[in-house]
């Protein structure tokens, strides 16, 4: 009797683990709400994998727990005298193999869409993001789409403005970020955008996204961007260890409702930047206070 208890013990612990994930969506232990155009692809593939893994988790653990219960030893008993089973081996090689191959192939198009440079959409808005220990510098041109933007990203321009830790765009815009780092590795992580990309020393890496929801409005009288919804304070984090301050490279994502709202903000930000630093040439380092 005591022997059978071990199967039950395993079963209870495994069931508790399973339930703690299963209640996740109900209590807010889950993916943050998606606001990215390619986010549904990512989330869909996540649920596909979650479905298959949950099935195999339940299948194997239930069989294990049942076998532990059912085949608990009794004195004088003997086990079945078998060494294997050819057809079973084929079955549990071919079926999981097919499923895994399907999972692998299903990823390819979403991966191409998110990361392949050749497949990135033409941008409506271009900016450059430079990481350093320990903040982000966002560089905006005086127009959303500077001419020859690949070149623009490499050469500092007098009219550009630099803002620490604030990423502005508007809803529906194809945003192209040229990602750089001044010092060590960092990783630009926007959980709600399902976006992550390491910043690599000595390289400029193009990144794109398109936000499908807005969270801010520019208030011309105060000169501030106000959240339209308290629960839509979307954050930027660093996901690659970059030293002691790694945890505090927090930034914010401002998605304006319209392009006009964005342009109003941009004009204001330009004016503010000029009045702050009338004669200093703006470089990523100098723009910081």
């Amino acid at each position: 009797m005591q022997q059978k208890g071990w199967g039950i013990f395993f079963g209870v612990v495994l069931l508790a683990a399973f339930l703690s994930i299963a209640v996740g969506p109900l209590v807010g232990w889950w993916l943050p709400a998606n606001v990215s155009s390619f986010g549904p692809d990512v989330d869909y593939l996540y649920y596909v994998i979650l479905g298959f893994t949950t099935f195999f988790f339940l299948l194997t653990e239930v069989l294990l727990v049942w076998a532990m219960y059912r085949f608990a030893g009794r004195p004088g008993n003997k086990s079945q005298y078998v060494e294997g089973h050819h057809r079973l081996e084929m079955l549990w090689t071919v079926v999981p193999g097919g499923i895994l191959l399907y999972i692998a192939i299903a990823q390819i198009s979403a991966w191409e869409r998110i990361k392949y440079q050749a497949k990135m959409p033409d941008p409506d808005l271009v900016m450059q993001v430079t990481a350093r220990q320990w903040d982000w510098t966002m560089r905006y041109a005086d127009t959303p789409l500077p001419e020859n933007h690949r070149r623009w990203a490499e050469i500092p321009n007098f009219d550009d403005i630099y803002l620490p830790d604030e990423l502005h765009c508007w809803k529906g815009a194809n945003v192209r970020i040229y990602l750089k780092t001044n010092d060590v590795l960092h990783s630009l992580f926007l959980p709600q955008l399902r976006l992550k990309q390491d910043a690599l020393p000595g390289k400029t890496i193009p990144v794109w996204f398109n936000a499908t929801d807005a969270n801010t409005r520019f208030n011309a009288s105060t000169g501030n961007c106000e959240w339209t919804d308290k629960n839509k304070e979307w954050e930027i984090a660093c996901a690659e260890l970059c030293g002691g301050g790694h945890y505090r490279m927090r930034g914010l994502l401002y998605v304006h409702e319209t392009k006009d709202d964005y342009l109003n903000w941009l004009k204001h930000a330009q004016k503010a930047a000029r009045s702050r630093q009338p004669e200093k040439k703006a470089t990523p380092v100098a723009a910081k206070d």
Binding site: F9, F52, F71, Q107, I108, D183, A239, V285
Partner: protein, 600 residues
Amino acid sequence: MSVSHSHSAEAHAHHELSFLRKYIFSEDHKIIGIQFLFSGLIFFLIGGTLALLVRLQVGFPKGINLPWFPISWGGRMSPDFYAMVFSMHATIMIFFVIIPLLTGAFGNFTIPLMIGARDMAFPKLNMMSYWFMWPAFAVILSSFFVEGGAGASGWTSYPLLASATMPAGEGFHSPASPHSGIGQICWLVALLFVGVSSMMGSINYMTTIINLRAPGMTMFRMPMTVWAMFITAILQSMALPVLTVALILQLLDKTINTTFFLPPGGMAFGNWHTGPGGGQTLLWQHLFWFYSHPAVYIMILPAMGMVSDIISTFARKHLFGYKPMVLAIAGIAGLGFIVWGHHMFQSGMDPRLGTGFMIATIMIALPSAVKTFNWLGTIWGANIQYTTAMLNALAFVAMFVIGGLSGIFMAATPVDVYFHDTYFIVAHIHYVLFMSSIFGIFGGIYYWFPKMFGRLMNEKWGKVHFVLTFLFSNCTFFPMHIIGIAGHPRRYYDSTLYRFLDNVQPLNQFMTISAFLLALAQIIFLVNFFWSLFRGAKAGANPWHSNTLEWTAPSPPPHGNFVQTPIVRRGPYEYGNPDMEEDYLPQAEPQPSGIPAPAH
């Protein structure tokens, strides 16, 4: 005359060994294995203490102030200190605990005994492989006390955080982190010694297994433990040179200002600019992961082998699908060399490479699945004896399922965009390396302890230890999946800064409390271990009624292992033959009359 003379000379040599030669500078594989076991357990305590410091900071980033807990604590460690603590926790657990325990302790102890050899092929080399660990021990421990402290760039030590160096003549300070000075140099040197030690071990294991098998011990009569150790040794010998090169390159960058990992334009740290470089940080990632992905298998395959033998023994049943199990290990090892790029999907390497690495990585789940189903097949229809060793081995299977399945999320490149470097990967690695490898190691200790020391560990306290460890380790590591799904980045000093993590903050505290309980439960193990060493019940040669060759030798086996070289007559898994009185038939036992011999 001459025969008897040489015989007595040999016996003489075996008895004349001084204490120093017998226990310290020993060439006996069993003693060397036990040496690896003891130093591994000591470092397990150090690595575990560091883990508790990590959990303390992550669970209570603002200090402890709980209504129900008598102690409140406002002290905080600095962010740099925290980074050092998690970096050294992982470094010690991987390079000083799991690899030395699995290959050093169990590989050494089991291989010659299980194939019926008197010792390793190169006993002196074997001794050297252990003694090369000691410079590593000394350097890694003293690195905590050097200026700036021990390394703090993670166990992966990515440049430039790890490798950035001030110009020649300015000492070994790093502009990137105070810990990346002498502490990082110590880290590199220590790992170089560990690597050389492992290399000597793996050459020895391969040679021994190929050349010193007892008569009748064909390759396909070898127990799974030996197969796993054999394939692991091949993996190690092919992967280690690449790590060694990477370590030396970074060491050169740090000491004589080469620029293997500094890009051509140089970099700026604050207002200070390095000179121009000529390298690439990605180079390190490729070299490091070319070793360190196979290293993940170095840290799991031996445990898989050991667990297979333990399960078959206590299921009292033939291992299900022996040859598929061998093939699966070989498949994991082979595929394991072409998947390293899955650590670099978001690194900025060409995303087209990512597609190839993804397909190989997802397919590597297949041999793992095959192994799992065969373990289930082994206990199906079994007559399970729930010893502590068996419980730990079954826990390995139950937990490896979770660790294996969670890996698929990060192997899938688009899903990895979100999950990369979150706590989901921390959960995954702990389900593979703690929940699987460590349960395998515990199983191995409970199983071979009587052979090592001639006494049994206490079963009752062993089970108490198992229950608490199984419970609290799941409480410690399972919620990491959940906070990973919520997007919690790893290696964060204080995650309360982020609103999107507000919901999962209580889980961080829960995991920390569980981790301390998990640590407390290990005291039971230590007391049981040392108490049993001196007071445990006498074991006899074959306390588990097991079939493999080590159980035909006395417990503990003398120098030279076997009184008579065993002659192997069958495979290692002859359990439960219905025609026989006993339910087991050891490998070297002559075929009982009237019982038909199996075909192989």
